[in-house]
């Protein structure tokens, strides 16, 4: 079964998305520790400013790709029967796609 994204491409996607996630996570942690938004309005304004929307969207795309490569590896290691494997991978793909779509909907609505 040749999975989508295999071999060198999967490795490259995993490393590239890891770098994106690493930088963004570091930025978020530092920013939230130094300047935590204090209430609902401040939180709303901070998350939904244009720069943060773009950044978060990038982050969620990278996250979906990174989670796909990583979790697919786990499934391939432990789920051997063909149809179970197909179901597990399908479920994973659906869950990650749904998460990405929900995140995009959240970040793209005015």
């Amino acid at each position: 079964m040749k999975a989508a994204l295999s071999g060198l491409r999967a490795w490259a996607v995993q490393r590239a998305s890891a770098l994106v996630l690493l930088s963004f996570t570091l930025y978020l942690v530092v920013e939230l520790l130094l300047h935590p938004p204090r209430d609902a309005a401040a939180w709303h304004a901070w998350v939904l400013r244009p720069a943060m929307r773009t950044g978060l969207l990038f982050m969620f795309v990278a996250l979906a790709l990174h989670a796909w490569v990583g979790t697919r590896d786990v499934i391939l290691d432990y789920v051997k029967p063909f149809y179970l494997r197909l179901a597990a991978l399908g479920l994973l793909a659906a869950a990650l796609l749904a998460t990405l779509i929900c995140a995009a909907a959240l970040l793209l609505t005015p």
């Binding site: 690493l22 979790t71 786990v74």
Partner: protein, 149 residues
């Protein structure tokens, strides 16, 4: 190893499996709870477990984000949920997951660049991963359970 005289049912050794073509008949023993695990193995195991935990937590975290942005009532609901003790314990576990996954991931990226791949260095960096993760979890624990700012 199967033969016509063996009864059907559970094999005696843990994780024993059917012999595939081109595979030798030597038995394997792969019970992670009984095999001695060097520190490099615990880092790798933790990397996988933490990754799975983070993926499982993703929908929950996205829901919390969306809810907290939906208005005063949503924000209050998420804040109330986050202030409960069970949620804080969950967040501490997720903090461990994120810390371990990121620190072990950085070690992996260094391996990709060829840094630290000799076994002596690999063991030392593995210990460093555990220690750094613990330090980060301690910080998170303080933030979650310590005195309010």
């Amino acid at each position: 190893m199967r033969s016509a005289t063996q009864p059907a049912g559970e094999p005696a050794e843990p994780f024993a499996r059917e012999q595939r073509p081109n595979e030798s008949a030597r038995p394997t023993y792969l019970n992670p709870l009984k095999v001695k695990l060097p520190v490099t193995a615990t880092v790798s195991l933790g990397h996988r477990v933490s990754g799975v935990l983070l993926v499982l937590a993703l929908p929950l975290l996205l829901w919390a984000l969306a809810r907290s942005l939906s208005g005063e009532a949503g924000y209050a609901q998420v804040a109330a949920w986050l202030s409960g003790s069970p949620s804080r314990v969950l967040l501490l576990v997720l903090a461990w997951a994120l810390a371990h996954h990121v620190v072990a991931g950085v070690r992996h990226l260094l391996f990709d660049a060829g840094i630290g791949t000799r076994y002596g260095m690999a063991r030392r960096t593995a210990w460093a991963v555990h220690l750094l993760t613990l330090a980060l979890v301690a910080v998170a624990g303080f933030a979650l359970f310590g005195p309010a700012p």
